[in-house]
Amino acid sequence: MRTLSPSAACLLPHPRSRYSPPRPRNRGFARGFPFFVFEAVLTDPSQPDNSASVSAEHLLARCAERDPVALRQLYERQSSRLYGIALRITRQPALAADALQDAFVNVWQKAASFDPERGSAEGWLTGIVRFRALDLIRLGSREISGLELPEIEDDEPNALARLVGSAEAAALRRCLEGLDADKRRLVMLAFLDGLTHQELAQRLTMPLGTVKSAIRRGLAGLRGCLEPDGSDRGQRA
């Protein structure tokens, strides 16, 4: 690239003036181009808001048909849950917001590929957000920011106590409680905080090999507990 000579216009002096931002919370801007079109779509009285009775699966199906109201409803109902997940992994609001933005763009593009036979819509959304958040921190963004990251709090008992919302959560809790304390702790730290083998070994001052084998045995234990017959992979027990 050094052999390419830049065009002369790239060498213009740096402009000193700055963008003049609108006043914060300026409602005129908030309703301005280009978003007002979108807000008009969303506040269209011909679209009754019966979102409380609509499942996430149904909203995903409507996203696949390019219904912007469905994406907005999905965002309203899932963004706090998903942002919490992304924030826990990235530990930085800006990165968590980037992860969620990328994830929702992804959801809009890939909604048609959601398969209810393979799991719930919430689980599918969780997976997309987690992979995006993990990608961002693996790119090194978590390290290069120069931020002091908040310490990870060890709240394993509380975390387990929150797994009560559904039959799936209750089954997972029962199976996690059936693991050795070490394996349970490693699996939960890995999933909730997005720690790699290496990070887990450092954090728990355990040998890397021990961490790796404990996690594989923990995963095998969970699978055996959730699906005792082992014949219906893909279906939850």
Partner: protein, 235 residues
């Protein structure tokens, strides 16, 4: 990493759990693209482990996040229908002057972008559908290269960018004729990949501004624009 079904299933579990390194995770993702059984195993682990996310407390997302998502998704769909095409809002004079200046700067970088476009087109990335070279005014070196990859823009530094620890770089898109840039999110010095439903239109400007940590609080650039470039489509 084995053909043994049990090992393969545990590889999938490790991948979903998130314990693999960047290289290992990419390896699994690449294998899953060609191995439907591995892809199914990944989906199954996702379904098994997802309920654990209920242990995480919900946190309200930043108020501007929906606008960023809308800009990257639905608006591009709405804009496909000319009847729904928005009218431009009343422009702000200062913003206009600023944008005019940057138009002039990055128009010159177009020639450079065209060269990169040629390299991308005839080189090893036949799938690239567009490219932009971002340069700082006053510096001869291109700073970032933005390239289309499938469903996303990959933006990577061509030189190391020094960012003060209390600031962040933020990336903006300014379509030709528009008067307000739209945020595409923060830009780590190491670059990032940005998922977009539609690639930028021809001659859209990509701008990088220096912002307070966490990004612009107003939804428009508040700091100086450090780098700019013009998107060139490769068709």
């Amino acid at each position: 990493m084995s053909d043994n079904p049990t090992d393969r299933d545990l590889d999938a579990g490790e991948y979903v759990l998130g314990v693999l390194s960047d290289v290992e995770a990419r390896g699994i993702a690449a294998r899953a693209a060609a191995d439907p059984e591995l892809a199914a195993a990944i989906a199954a682990w996702q379904a098994r482990l997802a309920p654990l996310a209920a242990a995480v407390e919900a946190v309200s997302a930043p108020p501007d996040l929906w606008r960023r998502i809308a800009a990257g998704t639905v608006l591009t769909t709405v804009a496909e229908n000319p009847d729904q095409r928005p009218r431009a809002a009343a422009p702000e004079a200062r913003m206009r002057r600023q944008i005019g200046l940057w138009r002039a700067v990055s128009a010159g970088c177009l020639a450079l972008a065209a060269m990169f476009a040629g390299i991308a087109y005839f080189g090893h990335q036949p799938t690239a559908r567009g490219v932009a070279v971002l340069a700082a005014a006053g510096s001869p070196a291109p700073a970032f290269l933005a390239e289309a990859v499938s469903g996303a823009i990959d933006i990577r530094p061509l030189a190391s960018a020094a960012v003060p620890t209390d600031r962040d770089l933020e990336l903006w898109s300014l379509p030709a004729g528009a008067t307000r840039p739209v945020s595409l999110g923060l830009l780590p010095a190491a670059g990032r990949r940005i998922a977009l439903a539609d690639l930028p239109a021809e001659r859209t400007q990509l701008l990088v501004s220096l912002e307070p940590r966490g990004g612009s609080p107003t939804g428009l650039p508040t700091g100086p624009v450090l780098y700019a470039g013009t998107w060139t489509r490769i068709e």
